[in-house]
């Protein structure tokens, strides 16, 4: 039955905050897919298997060429990173610098933990949402990295899919000046 008394509007949590709160639960996940680094003079592609436990700060990343040969192996635990490339092992605290030094490519892994889920990493990161789906469509970040490329990061999200209780993008196009990173996730495991 309807009452004519105006019911005070329940303070409705904005769908964007609701999604962000839900994603806080997603701290252990594993993704498999392919990543491409495209710059004016160089293009490289690898298949990746990335497994993260944000609570224990533990992660493993395997980059494999399409022949099946490993090109980079990363294992991290509580802020310390070990990267194996061409049979040599490198260690460090700043993973983005380590990966840049070894591959020449910029991969902000810490920020990616958030950006992959469509969440801001810096407070200043701005997200614009798709009018119908209300899911993140673009993210803009002024995250500085140690390269001389000071352009902003611009991410486009696509190919959303429901994975358990989460709705996650399976295609990210990340650009920063003349660098474009294409990330296609074949499988999210949460």
């Amino acid at each position: 039955c309807t009452t004519n008394k105006a019911i005070p509007p329940i303070e409705s949590v904005h769908p964007h905050q609701e999604r962000a709160q839900l994603l806080q639960q997603l701290s252990q996940w594993q993704i498999t897919g392919k990543i491409a680094f495209i710059q004016s003079n160089k293009r490289e592609r690898a298949n990746f298997h990335w497994q993260i436990n944000e609570e224990t700060q533990q992660q493993n990343l395997n980059l494999t060429s399409y022949l099946g040969i490993n090109v980079l192996q990363l294992s991290s635990s509580n802020g310390h990173h070990k990267v194996k490339v061409d049979g040599k092992t490198y260690q460090g605290e700043d993973l983005t610098a380590l990966i840049y030094q070894l591959t020449g490519f910029t991969l902000p892994t810490k920020a990616l933990n958030f950006w992959l889920k469509g969440l801001p990493y810096l407070d200043s990161d701005q997200i614009s949402y798709h009018p119908e789906t209300q899911l993140p469509e673009y993210l803009l970040s002024s995250l500085e990295t140690n390269t001389n490329n000071h352009e902003a990061w611009r991410i486009h999200y696509g190919n959303y899919q429901a994975i358990k209780q989460f709705i996650l993008a399976k295609k990210l196009t990340i650009s920063k000046g003349d660098l474009t990173i294409k990330l296609v996730i074949d499988k999210w495991r949460v």
Binding site: G33, K34, R43, T64, Y66, L67, I69, N70, K84, D186
Partner: protein, 202 residues
């Protein structure tokens, strides 16, 4: 080459492998590929089709998780990757080291001098009647591929796998294997598609 007592045995395995390979002028098959870390964790799966014709002609096309092409026209080894709209060209001679499949296309004795061959027993549950497996190990220390294992069922190749320097294992199972029909010639030719960037490493 040290004169260990098993040297005689090695050459026996090698000549047995080469006899089997000599019997294969060409073949085509579907394949499924699984990649495991050294700890045995499955990190990637894929599938595709493979055609080989001697000497040195290969067409290795993955169809899942996405399309990539590895084509040897006998002189150049082409890696075409639509995901980045790029094709990379390597000289065939320089690529044998990190493209183990090329070994299966070549009976040249001098090439095989650089490899050691051992016949290995196949675990009971995996082997069917008259399966035989050979492990091929490069004598060169710094090769990207640590070992290549080829398993035959009779004279047909049933599967092969290779281990890289990190111990990562790529396992390839062949199905619909056939050795009777000559693979089409254009399978082993590559023309750079429109708008695709060429990375020439020859």
């Amino acid at each position: 080459d040290t004169h260990s007592p098993s040297t005689q045995a090695l050459t026996a395995s090698k000549s047995q492998l080469m006899a089997k390979l000599a019997g294969i002028k060409y073949f085509s098959a579907q394949f499924s590929q699984s990649i495991y870390t050294e700890e045995g964790e499955l990190i990637q799966q894929g599938a595709g089709k493979l055609a080989i014709s001697k000497p040195n002609l290969v067409n290795w096309q993955t169809t899942s998780p996405d399309e990539t092409f590895i084509i040897s026209d006998g002189e150049t080894l082409w890696f075409y990757d639509p995901f980045i709209d790029q094709a990379t060209a390597y000289s065939l001679a320089k690529s044998i080291d990190n493209t183990p499949i090329l070994l299966l296309t070549n009976d040249d004795i001098s090439l095989w001098q650089q490899y050691q061959v051992n016949e290995v027993a196949i675990p009971k549950e995996q082997s069917t009647q008259n399966d035989v497996a050979f492990v091929i190990t490069p004598k060169k220390e710094d090769s990207q591929i640590k070992s290549l294992t080829v398993t035959f069922n009779g004279n047909a190749i049933k599967s092969f796998s290779f281990k890289d320097a990190t111990g990562q294992l790529s396992q390839i199972e062949l199905t619909q294997y056939q050795q009777s029909k000559v693979p089409a010639e254009d399978l082993f030719q590559f023309t750079l598609p429109e708008g695709v960037r060429l990375e020439d490493k020859r």
